[in-house]
Protein backbone atom coordinates (compact mmCIF):
# COMPACT_ATOMS: atom_id res chain seq x y z
CA UNK A 1 0.00 0.00 0.00
CA UNK A 2 1.35 3.42 -0.92
CA UNK A 3 2.14 5.68 1.94
CA UNK A 4 0.46 9.05 1.82
CA UNK A 5 2.87 11.90 2.03
CA UNK A 6 0.51 14.83 1.96
CA UNK A 7 -0.26 16.76 -1.19
CA UNK A 8 2.69 17.37 -3.49
CA UNK A 9 3.01 21.11 -3.80
CA UNK A 10 5.60 21.24 -6.57
CA UNK A 11 6.68 18.69 -9.17
CA UNK A 12 10.26 18.93 -7.89
CA UNK A 13 9.14 18.17 -4.35
CA UNK A 14 7.16 15.19 -5.63
CA UNK A 15 10.11 13.76 -7.49
CA UNK A 16 12.33 14.12 -4.46
CA UNK A 17 9.71 12.48 -2.24
CA UNK A 18 9.35 9.60 -4.68
CA UNK A 19 13.11 9.03 -4.76
CA UNK A 20 13.23 9.11 -0.99
CA UNK A 21 10.29 6.69 -0.75
CA UNK A 22 11.86 4.36 -3.29
CA UNK A 23 15.14 4.45 -1.38
CA UNK A 24 13.36 3.83 1.92
CA UNK A 25 11.59 0.81 0.42
CA UNK A 26 14.85 -0.64 -0.91
CA UNK A 27 16.53 0.03 2.42
CA UNK A 28 13.84 -1.77 4.35
CA UNK A 29 14.14 -4.74 2.04
CA UNK A 30 17.94 -4.88 2.19
CA UNK A 31 19.00 -3.57 5.60
CA UNK A 32 17.71 -6.51 7.62
CA UNK A 33 19.03 -9.02 5.11
CA UNK A 34 22.46 -7.43 5.27
CA UNK A 35 22.44 -7.20 9.09
CA UNK A 36 21.41 -10.86 9.32
CA UNK A 37 24.22 -12.07 7.04
CA UNK A 38 26.91 -9.94 8.64
CA UNK A 39 25.83 -10.91 12.16
CA UNK A 40 25.92 -14.60 11.22
CA UNK A 41 29.48 -14.32 9.94
CA UNK A 42 30.87 -12.01 12.61
CA UNK A 43 28.88 -13.79 15.30
CA UNK A 44 28.71 -10.48 17.08
CA UNK A 45 25.61 -8.31 17.08
CA UNK A 46 27.48 -5.19 18.12
CA UNK A 47 30.36 -5.40 15.64
CA UNK A 48 28.00 -6.09 12.78
CA UNK A 49 26.02 -2.96 13.58
CA UNK A 50 29.05 -0.80 12.79
CA UNK A 51 29.68 -2.64 9.52
CA UNK A 52 26.05 -2.47 8.40
CA UNK A 53 25.77 1.21 9.26
CA UNK A 54 28.84 2.07 7.22
CA UNK A 55 27.42 0.23 4.20
CA UNK A 56 24.01 1.87 4.52
CA UNK A 57 25.56 5.28 4.96
CA UNK A 58 27.59 4.79 1.78
CA UNK A 59 24.38 3.85 -0.04
CA UNK A 60 22.52 6.92 1.28
CA UNK A 61 25.32 9.11 -0.03
CA UNK A 62 25.95 7.44 -3.39
CA UNK A 63 22.64 6.07 -4.65
CA UNK A 64 20.80 9.40 -5.01
CA UNK A 65 23.73 10.65 -7.14
CA UNK A 66 24.80 7.55 -9.04
CA UNK A 67 21.35 5.98 -9.26
CA UNK A 68 20.07 2.77 -7.71
CA UNK A 69 22.36 -0.19 -8.51
CA UNK A 70 20.83 -3.15 -10.42
CA UNK A 71 21.29 -5.39 -7.41
CA UNK A 72 21.22 -3.17 -4.33
CA UNK A 73 21.69 -6.16 -2.01
CA UNK A 74 24.88 -7.24 -3.75
CA UNK A 75 26.17 -3.66 -3.75
CA UNK A 76 25.61 -3.34 0.01
CA UNK A 77 27.10 -6.75 0.65
CA UNK A 78 30.29 -5.86 -1.23
CA UNK A 79 30.76 -2.70 0.81
CA UNK A 80 29.87 -4.44 4.09
CA UNK A 81 32.19 -7.35 3.35
CA UNK A 82 35.13 -5.03 2.76
CA UNK A 83 34.35 -3.21 6.01
CA UNK A 84 33.89 -6.46 7.92
CA UNK A 85 37.33 -7.65 6.80
CA UNK A 86 38.80 -4.43 8.21
CA UNK A 87 37.06 -5.05 11.51
CA UNK A 88 38.25 -8.65 11.66
CA UNK A 89 41.85 -7.75 10.81
CA UNK A 90 41.92 -5.51 13.87
CA UNK A 91 41.09 -8.43 16.09
CA UNK A 92 43.23 -11.57 16.21
CA UNK A 93 40.40 -13.65 17.68
CA UNK A 94 38.58 -13.42 14.39
CA UNK A 95 41.20 -14.93 12.07
CA UNK A 96 39.07 -17.98 11.32
CA UNK A 97 36.03 -15.88 10.54
CA UNK A 98 38.15 -13.75 8.28
CA UNK A 99 38.83 -16.80 6.13
CA UNK A 100 35.09 -17.53 5.96
CA UNK A 101 34.50 -14.04 4.73
CA UNK A 102 37.29 -14.02 2.15
CA UNK A 103 35.88 -16.72 -0.12
CA UNK A 104 32.16 -16.44 -0.66
CA UNK A 105 31.80 -13.17 -2.51
CA UNK A 106 28.07 -13.69 -2.88
CA UNK A 107 25.77 -13.02 0.01
CA UNK A 108 24.20 -16.13 1.49
CA UNK A 109 21.02 -16.97 -0.40
CA UNK A 110 19.00 -18.20 2.55
CA UNK A 111 17.19 -15.64 4.57
CA UNK A 112 18.75 -15.12 7.97
CA UNK A 113 16.34 -12.40 8.91
CA UNK A 114 14.25 -14.74 11.02
CA UNK A 115 17.18 -15.15 13.42
CA UNK A 116 17.62 -11.41 13.47
CA UNK A 117 13.95 -10.86 14.35
CA UNK A 118 14.05 -13.44 17.15
CA UNK A 119 17.17 -11.87 18.64
CA UNK A 120 15.73 -8.34 18.47
CA UNK A 121 12.51 -9.53 20.15
CA UNK A 122 14.22 -11.54 22.90
CA UNK A 123 12.20 -11.41 26.14
CA UNK A 124 15.34 -10.51 28.09
CA UNK A 125 15.12 -7.07 26.44
CA UNK A 126 12.52 -4.50 27.49
CA UNK A 127 9.51 -4.16 25.14
CA UNK A 128 10.63 -0.62 24.17
CA UNK A 129 14.10 -1.89 23.35
CA UNK A 130 12.65 -4.78 21.32
CA UNK A 131 10.59 -2.37 19.22
CA UNK A 132 13.45 0.10 18.66
CA UNK A 133 15.95 -2.64 17.85
CA UNK A 134 13.58 -4.32 15.39
CA UNK A 135 12.91 -1.03 13.59
CA UNK A 136 16.61 -0.20 13.49
CA UNK A 137 18.08 -3.55 12.59
CA UNK A 138 15.37 -5.45 10.71
CA UNK A 139 13.58 -2.53 9.00
CA UNK A 140 16.64 -0.31 8.60
CA UNK A 141 15.09 2.86 10.05
CA UNK A 142 17.49 5.58 11.08
CA UNK A 143 17.61 6.58 14.75
CA UNK A 144 16.13 9.96 13.72
CA UNK A 145 13.17 8.22 12.08
CA UNK A 146 12.52 6.07 15.15
CA UNK A 147 12.77 9.11 17.44
CA UNK A 148 10.36 11.00 15.22
CA UNK A 149 7.85 8.15 15.11
CA UNK A 150 7.80 7.80 18.90
CA UNK A 151 8.04 11.53 19.60
CA UNK A 152 11.22 10.87 21.56
CA UNK A 153 14.59 12.56 21.33
CA UNK A 154 17.14 10.93 19.06
CA UNK A 155 19.60 10.81 21.97
CA UNK A 156 17.10 8.77 23.99
CA UNK A 157 16.64 6.30 21.12
CA UNK A 158 20.38 5.95 20.59
CA UNK A 159 20.82 5.27 24.29
CA UNK A 160 18.03 2.68 24.25
CA UNK A 161 19.65 0.91 21.28
CA UNK A 162 23.13 1.05 22.81
CA UNK A 163 21.90 -0.46 26.07
CA UNK A 164 20.06 -3.21 24.22
CA UNK A 165 23.09 -4.13 22.11
CA UNK A 166 25.30 -4.11 25.19
CA UNK A 167 22.93 -6.46 26.96
CA UNK A 168 22.86 -8.81 23.95
CA UNK A 169 26.65 -8.98 24.08
CA UNK A 170 27.17 -9.08 27.88
CA UNK A 171 24.38 -11.51 28.72
CA UNK A 172 25.04 -13.47 25.52
CA UNK A 173 21.57 -13.45 24.06
CA UNK A 174 21.93 -16.02 21.28
CA UNK A 175 21.62 -15.25 17.60
CA UNK A 176 19.35 -18.06 16.49
CA UNK A 177 15.77 -19.20 16.25
CA UNK A 178 14.44 -20.73 19.45
CA UNK A 179 14.39 -24.43 20.11
CA UNK A 180 11.15 -26.12 19.08
CA UNK A 181 9.78 -26.40 22.61
CA UNK A 182 10.15 -22.66 23.10
CA UNK A 183 9.11 -21.52 19.65
CA UNK A 184 5.44 -20.88 20.43
CA UNK A 185 6.26 -18.73 23.44
CA UNK A 186 8.98 -16.78 21.63
CA UNK A 187 6.87 -16.34 18.52
CA UNK A 188 4.12 -14.84 20.69
CA UNK A 189 6.68 -12.29 21.87
CA UNK A 190 7.69 -11.44 18.29
CA UNK A 191 4.04 -11.00 17.28
CA UNK A 192 3.45 -8.78 20.32
CA UNK A 193 6.25 -6.46 19.17
CA UNK A 194 4.78 -6.19 15.67
CA UNK A 195 1.29 -5.59 17.07
CA UNK A 196 2.63 -2.95 19.48
CA UNK A 197 4.29 -1.23 16.55
CA UNK A 198 1.07 -1.37 14.57
CA UNK A 199 -0.99 0.09 17.40
CA UNK A 200 1.56 2.82 17.97
CA UNK A 201 1.27 3.84 14.33
CA UNK A 202 -2.51 3.40 14.21
CA UNK A 203 -3.27 5.55 17.25
CA UNK A 204 -1.11 8.48 16.24
CA UNK A 205 -2.09 8.43 12.58
CA UNK A 206 -4.77 11.08 13.11
CA UNK A 207 -3.44 14.35 11.76
CA UNK A 208 0.07 12.98 11.73
CA UNK A 209 2.61 15.22 10.10
CA UNK A 210 3.25 13.92 6.58
CA UNK A 211 6.99 13.68 7.12
CA UNK A 212 6.45 11.29 10.00
CA UNK A 213 7.06 7.68 9.12
CA UNK A 214 3.91 5.54 9.02
CA UNK A 215 4.67 2.74 11.46
CA UNK A 216 1.59 0.74 10.41
CA UNK A 217 3.35 0.34 7.06
CA UNK A 218 6.43 -1.09 8.79
CA UNK A 219 4.28 -3.32 10.98
CA UNK A 220 2.49 -4.73 7.93
CA UNK A 221 5.81 -5.23 6.15
CA UNK A 222 7.25 -7.09 9.17
CA UNK A 223 4.17 -9.28 9.52
CA UNK A 224 4.31 -10.09 5.79
CA UNK A 225 8.01 -10.92 6.06
CA UNK A 226 7.36 -13.19 9.02
CA UNK A 227 4.45 -14.85 7.17
CA UNK A 228 6.72 -15.57 4.21
CA UNK A 229 9.40 -17.02 6.50
CA UNK A 230 6.96 -19.00 8.69
CA UNK A 231 4.03 -19.85 6.38
CA UNK A 232 2.80 -22.70 8.60
CA UNK A 233 2.29 -20.53 11.70
CA UNK A 234 -1.40 -19.58 11.76
CA UNK A 235 -1.02 -16.78 14.32
CA UNK A 236 1.45 -15.01 12.03
CA UNK A 237 -1.12 -15.15 9.22
CA UNK A 238 -3.78 -14.00 11.67
CA UNK A 239 -1.77 -10.94 12.71
CA UNK A 240 -1.01 -10.06 9.07
CA UNK A 241 -4.71 -10.34 8.21
CA UNK A 242 -5.66 -8.24 11.26
CA UNK A 243 -3.26 -5.46 10.27
CA UNK A 244 -4.40 -5.50 6.63
CA UNK A 245 -8.08 -5.45 7.59
CA UNK A 246 -7.51 -2.33 9.71
CA UNK A 247 -5.41 -0.59 7.07
CA UNK A 248 -7.95 -1.31 4.32
CA UNK A 249 -10.44 0.83 6.26
CA UNK A 250 -8.09 3.40 7.80
CA UNK A 251 -9.13 6.21 5.44
CA UNK A 252 -12.65 6.42 6.90
CA UNK A 253 -11.69 6.60 10.57
CA UNK A 254 -11.56 10.39 10.55
CA UNK A 255 -13.65 13.00 8.75
CA UNK A 256 -12.29 15.93 6.77
CA UNK A 257 -11.92 17.97 9.97
CA UNK A 258 -9.94 15.19 11.64
CA UNK A 259 -12.82 14.13 13.88
CA UNK A 260 -13.17 10.50 14.87
CA UNK A 261 -15.88 8.61 12.94
CA UNK A 262 -17.33 5.60 14.73
CA UNK A 263 -17.52 2.30 12.84
CA UNK A 264 -21.31 2.48 12.51
CA UNK A 265 -21.08 5.85 10.74
CA UNK A 266 -18.10 5.14 8.49
CA UNK A 267 -18.50 5.39 4.71
CA UNK A 268 -18.12 1.74 3.77
CA UNK A 269 -18.00 2.57 0.06
CA UNK A 270 -14.52 3.98 0.67
CA UNK A 271 -13.17 0.77 2.19
CA UNK A 272 -10.68 -1.13 0.04
CA UNK A 273 -12.79 -4.17 -0.92
CA UNK A 274 -9.98 -6.03 -2.70
CA UNK A 275 -7.64 -5.71 0.32
CA UNK A 276 -10.43 -6.83 2.64
CA UNK A 277 -11.21 -9.89 0.52
CA UNK A 278 -7.53 -10.85 0.34
CA UNK A 279 -7.12 -10.46 4.12
CA UNK A 280 -10.28 -12.51 4.75
CA UNK A 281 -8.78 -15.28 2.59
CA UNK A 282 -5.73 -15.14 4.81
CA UNK A 283 -7.96 -15.71 7.87
CA UNK A 284 -9.42 -18.78 6.17
CA UNK A 285 -5.95 -20.05 5.25
CA UNK A 286 -4.87 -19.67 8.88
CA UNK A 287 -7.99 -21.44 10.16
CA UNK A 288 -7.22 -24.46 7.95
CA UNK A 289 -4.04 -25.00 9.98
CA UNK A 290 -6.38 -25.83 12.89
CA UNK A 291 -4.49 -24.03 15.64
CA UNK A 292 -6.70 -21.09 16.62
CA UNK A 293 -5.21 -18.19 18.55
CA UNK A 294 -6.03 -14.65 19.65
CA UNK A 295 -4.76 -12.90 16.49
CA UNK A 296 -6.73 -15.21 14.20
CA UNK A 297 -9.91 -14.69 16.21
CA UNK A 298 -9.46 -10.92 16.32
CA UNK A 299 -8.88 -10.93 12.55
CA UNK A 300 -12.04 -13.00 12.07
CA UNK A 301 -14.04 -10.48 14.13
CA UNK A 302 -12.66 -7.56 12.15
CA UNK A 303 -13.34 -9.46 8.90
CA UNK A 304 -17.01 -9.83 9.92
CA UNK A 305 -17.22 -6.05 10.28
CA UNK A 306 -15.21 -5.33 7.14
CA UNK A 307 -17.30 -7.61 4.93
CA UNK A 308 -20.68 -6.40 6.22
CA UNK A 309 -22.61 -4.01 3.98
CA UNK A 310 -23.78 -1.97 6.96
CA UNK A 311 -23.70 -1.80 10.76
CA UNK A 312 -27.24 -3.22 10.93
CA UNK A 313 -26.65 -6.12 8.54
CA UNK A 314 -23.47 -7.21 10.33
CA UNK A 315 -23.42 -10.87 11.43
CA UNK A 316 -23.55 -10.03 15.14
CA UNK A 317 -24.23 -13.58 16.29
CA UNK A 318 -21.05 -14.75 14.58
CA UNK A 319 -19.14 -11.87 16.20
CA UNK A 320 -20.57 -12.78 19.62
CA UNK A 321 -19.45 -16.39 19.21
CA UNK A 322 -15.99 -15.24 18.14
CA UNK A 323 -15.74 -13.03 21.24
CA UNK A 324 -16.63 -16.04 23.38
CA UNK A 325 -13.79 -17.95 21.73
CA UNK A 326 -11.41 -15.01 22.23
CA UNK A 327 -12.32 -14.74 25.92
CA UNK A 328 -11.53 -18.42 26.39
CA UNK A 329 -8.03 -17.78 24.98
CA UNK A 330 -7.45 -14.37 26.52
CA UNK A 331 -9.74 -13.47 29.41
CA UNK A 332 -9.70 -9.69 29.74
CA UNK A 333 -12.20 -7.03 30.87
CA UNK A 334 -11.58 -4.94 27.74
CA UNK A 335 -12.50 -7.89 25.50
CA UNK A 336 -15.63 -8.43 27.62
CA UNK A 337 -16.54 -4.79 27.05
CA UNK A 338 -16.23 -5.25 23.27
CA UNK A 339 -18.27 -8.41 23.55
CA UNK A 340 -21.02 -6.44 25.31
CA UNK A 341 -21.51 -4.38 22.13
CA UNK A 342 -22.23 -7.61 20.22
CA UNK A 343 -24.52 -8.71 23.06
CA UNK A 344 -26.43 -5.45 22.61
CA UNK A 345 -26.96 -6.17 18.91
CA UNK A 346 -28.07 -9.77 19.48
CA UNK A 347 -29.99 -9.56 22.77
CA UNK A 348 -30.74 -5.87 23.18
CA UNK A 349 -29.38 -2.94 25.23
CA UNK A 350 -30.59 -4.14 28.65
CA UNK A 351 -28.66 -7.43 28.34
CA UNK A 352 -25.61 -5.46 27.17
CA UNK A 353 -25.83 -3.03 30.09
CA UNK A 354 -26.10 -5.93 32.54
CA UNK A 355 -22.94 -7.41 30.98
CA UNK A 356 -21.00 -4.23 31.71
CA UNK A 357 -22.15 -3.90 35.34
CA UNK A 358 -19.55 -6.19 36.86
CA UNK A 359 -16.74 -4.71 34.75
CA UNK A 360 -16.89 -1.47 36.76
CA UNK A 361 -14.20 -2.64 39.17
CA UNK A 362 -11.68 -3.18 36.37
CA UNK A 363 -12.66 -0.49 33.90
CA UNK A 364 -13.93 2.45 35.96
CA UNK A 365 -10.92 4.54 34.87
CA UNK A 366 -11.32 3.58 31.18
CA UNK A 367 -13.18 6.22 29.14
CA UNK A 368 -14.45 3.74 26.50
CA UNK A 369 -16.21 1.84 29.31
CA UNK A 370 -18.33 4.85 30.21
CA UNK A 371 -18.87 5.92 26.60
CA UNK A 372 -20.11 2.40 25.75
CA UNK A 373 -22.47 2.35 28.74
CA UNK A 374 -23.76 5.76 27.68
CA UNK A 375 -24.76 4.23 24.32
CA UNK A 376 -26.71 1.43 25.99
CA UNK A 377 -28.39 3.84 28.43
CA UNK A 378 -29.45 6.12 25.58
CA UNK A 379 -30.96 3.17 23.72
CA UNK A 380 -32.94 2.36 26.87
CA UNK A 381 -34.27 5.92 27.03
CA UNK A 382 -32.32 6.68 30.20
CA UNK A 383 -31.03 10.01 28.87
CA UNK A 384 -29.94 11.55 32.18
CA UNK A 385 -27.76 8.59 33.16
CA UNK A 386 -26.38 8.40 29.61
CA UNK A 387 -25.29 12.02 29.89
CA UNK A 388 -23.60 11.34 33.22
CA UNK A 389 -21.72 8.42 31.70
CA UNK A 390 -20.57 10.53 28.72
CA UNK A 391 -19.38 13.24 31.10
CA UNK A 392 -17.45 10.65 33.06
CA UNK A 393 -15.85 9.43 29.79
CA UNK A 394 -14.93 12.99 28.81
CA UNK A 395 -13.17 13.46 32.12
CA UNK A 396 -10.98 10.41 31.47
CA UNK A 397 -9.55 11.05 27.99
CA UNK A 398 -7.12 13.64 26.67
CA UNK A 399 -7.25 12.44 23.05
CA UNK A 400 -8.58 15.44 21.07
CA UNK A 401 -10.48 13.37 18.47
CA UNK A 402 -12.25 11.38 21.18
CA UNK A 403 -12.99 14.50 23.21
CA UNK A 404 -14.56 16.20 20.20
CA UNK A 405 -16.86 13.23 19.64
CA UNK A 406 -17.98 13.12 23.28
CA UNK A 407 -18.49 16.88 23.45
CA UNK A 408 -20.67 16.66 20.35
CA UNK A 409 -22.81 14.05 22.11
CA UNK A 410 -23.20 16.25 25.16
CA UNK A 411 -24.41 19.32 23.28
Amino acid sequence: MARSRGGGDTPGHDALTTTRDALAAVFREEAGRLAASVTRILGDFDASEEVVQDALLAAWQQWPIEGLPDRPGAWLWTVARRRAIDVLRRDMRYQERLRALSFPVEQAADDDRLMLIFTCCHPALSPEAQVALTLRTVCGLSTAEIANAFLASEAAIIQRLTRARRKIAEARIPYRISADDELAERLAGVLAVIYLLFNEGYLCSAGAAPQRRDLTDDAEWLAALLASLMPAEPEVLGLLALIRLHRARAATRFDAEGRLVLLRHQDRARWNKAEIAAAADLVVRAARLRRPGPYQIQAAIVACHAEAASWASTDWLQILLLYDALLRQQPSPVIRLHRAVAVGQVLGPQAALDETDDLAGDLDRYHIYHATRAEFLRQLGRGYEARQADERALGLTANPAERALLEQRLT
Partner: protein, 115 residues
Protein backbone atom coordinates in the same frame (compact mmCIF):
# COMPACT_ATOMS: atom_id res chain seq x y z
CA UNK B 1 29.61 -18.59 29.27
CA UNK B 2 29.35 -18.30 33.04
CA UNK B 3 26.35 -16.92 34.86
CA UNK B 4 25.35 -16.77 38.51
CA UNK B 5 21.77 -17.70 39.33
CA UNK B 6 20.58 -15.78 42.37
CA UNK B 7 17.68 -17.52 44.06
CA UNK B 8 15.49 -14.79 45.47
CA UNK B 9 12.28 -14.56 47.39
CA UNK B 10 10.15 -12.01 49.21
CA UNK B 11 8.23 -12.08 52.50
CA UNK B 12 5.27 -13.77 50.84
CA UNK B 13 7.46 -16.56 49.46
CA UNK B 14 8.99 -17.01 52.91
CA UNK B 15 5.52 -17.15 54.51
CA UNK B 16 4.38 -19.74 51.94
CA UNK B 17 7.47 -21.79 52.78
CA UNK B 18 6.77 -21.50 56.53
CA UNK B 19 3.19 -22.66 56.00
CA UNK B 20 4.22 -25.92 54.34
CA UNK B 21 3.68 -29.20 56.16
CA UNK B 22 6.76 -31.35 56.86
CA UNK B 23 5.70 -33.70 54.03
CA UNK B 24 5.29 -30.83 51.58
CA UNK B 25 8.61 -29.40 52.65
CA UNK B 26 10.34 -32.74 52.16
CA UNK B 27 8.78 -33.07 48.70
CA UNK B 28 9.95 -29.57 47.75
CA UNK B 29 13.50 -30.28 48.92
CA UNK B 30 13.44 -33.49 46.90
CA UNK B 31 12.48 -31.49 43.80
CA UNK B 32 15.29 -29.03 44.43
CA UNK B 33 17.71 -31.94 44.91
CA UNK B 34 16.56 -33.49 41.64
CA UNK B 35 17.05 -30.16 39.85
CA UNK B 36 20.65 -29.92 41.08
CA UNK B 37 21.27 -33.55 40.11
CA UNK B 38 19.85 -32.99 36.62
CA UNK B 39 22.03 -29.96 35.96
CA UNK B 40 25.06 -31.16 37.93
CA UNK B 41 27.45 -31.03 34.97
CA UNK B 42 26.73 -27.31 34.43
CA UNK B 43 26.78 -26.17 38.04
CA UNK B 44 29.90 -24.90 39.78
CA UNK B 45 29.98 -23.29 43.20
CA UNK B 46 26.57 -23.20 44.83
CA UNK B 47 25.29 -22.49 48.32
CA UNK B 48 22.12 -21.88 50.21
CA UNK B 49 22.40 -18.88 52.53
CA UNK B 50 21.19 -18.38 56.08
CA UNK B 51 18.25 -16.01 56.39
CA UNK B 52 18.54 -12.21 56.24
CA UNK B 53 18.21 -11.99 60.03
CA UNK B 54 21.73 -13.44 60.21
CA UNK B 55 23.20 -10.85 57.87
CA UNK B 56 25.73 -8.21 58.85
CA UNK B 57 26.77 -5.43 56.50
CA UNK B 58 29.85 -3.28 56.29
CA UNK B 59 29.12 -0.03 54.52
CA UNK B 60 31.70 2.51 53.52
CA UNK B 61 31.09 6.14 54.29
CA UNK B 62 32.05 9.10 52.12
CA UNK B 63 35.59 9.10 53.52
CA UNK B 64 35.89 5.36 52.94
CA UNK B 65 35.48 4.56 56.61
CA UNK B 66 33.82 1.15 57.26
CA UNK B 67 30.59 1.13 59.28
CA UNK B 68 29.28 -2.18 60.57
CA UNK B 69 25.49 -2.57 60.75
CA UNK B 70 23.08 -5.36 61.54
CA UNK B 71 20.99 -6.68 58.66
CA UNK B 72 21.24 -7.11 54.90
CA UNK B 73 22.59 -4.36 52.61
CA UNK B 74 19.71 -4.65 50.13
CA UNK B 75 16.74 -3.20 51.93
CA UNK B 76 13.17 -4.15 51.23
CA UNK B 77 11.12 -7.28 51.13
CA UNK B 78 13.29 -9.26 48.70
CA UNK B 79 16.13 -11.49 49.79
CA UNK B 80 18.76 -13.65 48.20
CA UNK B 81 18.39 -17.16 49.58
CA UNK B 82 21.18 -18.82 47.64
CA UNK B 83 23.22 -18.87 44.48
CA UNK B 84 24.63 -21.21 41.87
CA UNK B 85 27.36 -20.55 39.37
CA UNK B 86 26.55 -22.17 36.03
CA UNK B 87 28.47 -22.68 32.80
CA UNK B 88 26.19 -22.89 29.76
CA UNK B 89 26.19 -21.93 26.07
CA UNK B 90 24.12 -18.76 26.23
CA UNK B 91 21.30 -16.88 27.96
CA UNK B 92 18.62 -19.15 26.46
CA UNK B 93 20.18 -22.18 28.13
CA UNK B 94 20.46 -20.28 31.42
CA UNK B 95 16.81 -19.29 31.07
CA UNK B 96 15.79 -22.88 30.45
CA UNK B 97 17.45 -23.89 33.73
CA UNK B 98 15.99 -20.96 35.66
CA UNK B 99 12.47 -21.64 34.37
CA UNK B 100 12.54 -25.15 35.85
CA UNK B 101 13.85 -24.05 39.29
CA UNK B 102 11.53 -25.77 41.78
CA UNK B 103 12.30 -23.49 44.75
CA UNK B 104 9.87 -20.78 43.43
CA UNK B 105 10.19 -17.11 44.33
CA UNK B 106 12.35 -15.60 41.59
CA UNK B 107 15.66 -16.35 39.90
CA UNK B 108 17.94 -13.51 38.80
CA UNK B 109 20.45 -14.39 36.10
CA UNK B 110 23.68 -12.39 36.06
CA UNK B 111 26.44 -12.95 33.52
CA UNK B 112 29.88 -13.23 35.07
CA UNK B 113 32.34 -10.60 33.91
CA UNK B 114 35.06 -12.01 31.68
CA UNK B 115 38.43 -10.41 31.12
Amino acid sequence: MKYVLLFCGDDQDAAAFEAMSPDELAARYAEVGAWFAEHQSKIGATNQLQGPASATSVRFGLEGQPVVTDGPYLEGKENIGGYAEIDVADLDEALRMAKTWPGRGAVEIRPVMTR
